[in-house]
Amino acid sequence: MSFMTYLSKRVVRMVLSLTAVSMITFTLLQLAPGNFADIQRISAGASQFGGAGTEDMVHAFASRYGEEIPAWRQYLIFMKGAVTWDFGPSYKYPAQDVQDIIAQGFPISATIAIIAVLLSLVIAIPVGVYAAVRQNSAADHGTMFLITLGTALPNYLTGVILVLVFTLTLGVLPSSGWDGPQHMVMPVLALVLGPTAVLARYVRSSMLETLREEYVVAALAKGGPRSTVITRHALRNSMIPIVTVLGPLLASLMTGTVFVEALFRIPGLGLYFAQAAASRDMPLLMGTALFFALILMTMNLIVDLVYGYLDPRIRAAGGVSRWRRSQKSPQRQPA
């Protein structure tokens, strides 16, 4: 199977999956109790919109979704726009189209996510390899203890500690906002710990498995320096399972981390996603959910392509999905 055939098959599958995701999300939204207008009315006292304001808004977006239009037609209208990347205006932010909200929030969330994941890789790979090479030593046990601690610490708690140290005590970093590199440091640090811990664990166990392979002994028997044998012969093969976790991990961070973005007041996607779900803001929820699905699928596609780069056997088989399905699938890490 040629690469192009493989790729187009994958794209067709992505489109089908996205359609399914949109149907399921829309159905769930319809089944959820309450609707946008009711929720706005109930929270009217606390909201910036008055009761009358809400009525105005309902009329304002009636141009696209009238109140009397049945749900299935609302869905079709939304999807008709969606295929041309036009999700229409948000209920809650009627001045903005959903795709514009995504275009604003996504680069911010993605920047934090990519930096955080890269940083955690840079830390996790050497730590995992170090622990694996010194298996069962005090160094290994110590590292793994710290790693377990890292997994147990939620990122919003880390964030609070960071604010206490860097803003309130040292006064070197701003605690909120999004304007330049000084605003990135703490959110990235808060996000890095969890993925680092998870990845280091994977690297260690994968490396331990690879180090037992006979080709590692064979490379040592050829006179290879230990460090070269580890980096050239063992590490590459150990990275294959790591890539599997990396894709979904990156996707979930890129589409916004609700707590960390809220804590540091970062105008990323996570905030909008959470608001959309809470206020039953159909276009915003559908738009962000579909976007999330798209990012996740793209990441998985990239992961599969990287497999092919790392392992020529997969490249030769012309497709990864069949091979991957036969592998033990690692658990997805919640963001």
Binding site: E214, A218, K222, G224, N237, L310, P312, A316
Partner: protein
């Protein structure tokens, strides 16, 4: 390149240190491999054959340690070298061929990478020359279109080709000694023959070969000498042909009568009863005595040292290869070999009965 050094292993002892005890896995093993000679190491699984070889290469797992003895290559004791010096010996002076090329070749690196990297590590030549040598060696081992094949990955080759590529990988540095750990076990018979011919050519060029094998046919075809190991010790040491014709140690004859050989007259297979001892509970005296049908009280009391042996053993062990109608001219060969080779056996009964 030192293409004419012999490997002399003397009183090699290897131990595995477990949580609560120490297991001696290789016990006072000695042998010599001269340039252009091949030594077979024969024995059941777990008899310490592979561990002995890993000890010489100093590639034991973390729990293993060499507790004594020497392994001299061209006069230098490998066991006394620093890790850095030892690294220069591995792959350059001693090459290693593994049982299963599918596992011993890295699946994600091309043959070129795997056949040239040690030439570069050892500073033998530059990259271009390394590639030229690798292509040449691949051609030597009978891989067609070596210039093209060198760019492929191990999984793209057939089983036989892979095994040959692995031998090429060990050969490319022209080591003085080649250790082959059951190189033909994982391949079918026709390929086996080709691989043996390949190793025979290597031997003819002056490489000393150590072959770990279960297969007596292979040992007979290819090797000059043999040691038979049982529970970490050498129980018999002999030139190969007299050994096959007249095994002296009851374990050796048991091993022979439990294997089939093509071309030999039909005979009943007689398995050795029981299984090899757990090294943590090594039987006292001769470790083989609980399984030996000729054991006497003395066998369980005295350690059996290797002693010179000059008998023909046929009265002691009836029904072995010697009596299965091997052509007479081969028997004459056996006698010719006996003149040159010293035989040793670790069994007082065999020594007494001559």
């Amino acid at each position: 390149m030192s293409s004419a050094s012999s490997l002399e292993v003397e009183d090699l002892r290897t131990e595995f240190v477990l949580r609560d005890r120490v297991l001696r896995v290789v016990d006072d093993v000695s042998f010599t491999v001269e340039p252009g000679q091949a030594l077979a190491i024969v024995g059941e699984s777990g008899s310490g054959k592979s561990v002995a070889m890993r000890s010489v290469m100093r590639l034991l797992p973390k729990t293993g340690r060499v507790a004594g003895g020497q392994a001299r290559l061209g006069g230098t004791d490998l066991l006394g070298l620093s890790e850095r010096q030892m690294r220069k010996v591995r792959g350059r002076d001693i090459g290693m061929v593994f049982q299963n090329a599918m596992e011993a070749l890295n699946p994600t690196l091309t043959l070129e990478r795997q056949l040239t990297e040690h030439l570069l590590w050892h500073g033998i030549c530059d990259r271009a020359e390394a590639k030229r040598r690798a292509v040449e060696t691949l051609g030597d081992v009978g891989i067609p279109e070596p210039e093209k094949r060198i760019r492929t990955y191990p999984f793209q080759l057939s089983g036989g080709m892979r095994q040959r590529a692995m031998i090429a990988m060990a050969m490319v540095t022209q080591p003085s000694v080649l250790i082959a750990d059951e190189p033909t076990t994982a391949v079918d018979v026709t390929v086996q023959r080709q691989l043996l011919d390949l190793l025979a050519r290597l031997k003819a060029r002056g490489t000393g070969v150590i072959m770990i094998t279960h297969d007596l046919g292979v040992a007979r075809y290819f090797c000059d000498d043999a040691i038979v190991m049982y529970a970490g010790r050498v129980v018999e040491h002999s030139p190969i042909r007299p050994l096959l014709a007249h095994p002296a140690h009851p374990y050796t004859s048991g091993l022979f009568s439990s294997t089939l050989e093509v071309g030999a007259r039909q005979r009943a297979l007689r398995p050795i009863p029981g299984s090899p001892p757990d090294l943590a509970h090594r039987p006292p005296g001769c470790a083989f005595h609980p399984r030996c049908d000729r054991a006497e009280e003395r066998c369980g009391q005295e350690d059996q040292p290797l002693l010179p042996w000059s008998g023909n053993g046929s009265d002691l062990v009836p029904g072995t290869v010697a009596e299965t109608g091997r052509p007479t001219d081969e028997r004459t060969d056996d006698r010719a070999d006996e003149r040159t080779g010293r035989r040793e056996v670790a069994c007082w009964k065999a020594v007494q009965h001559g």
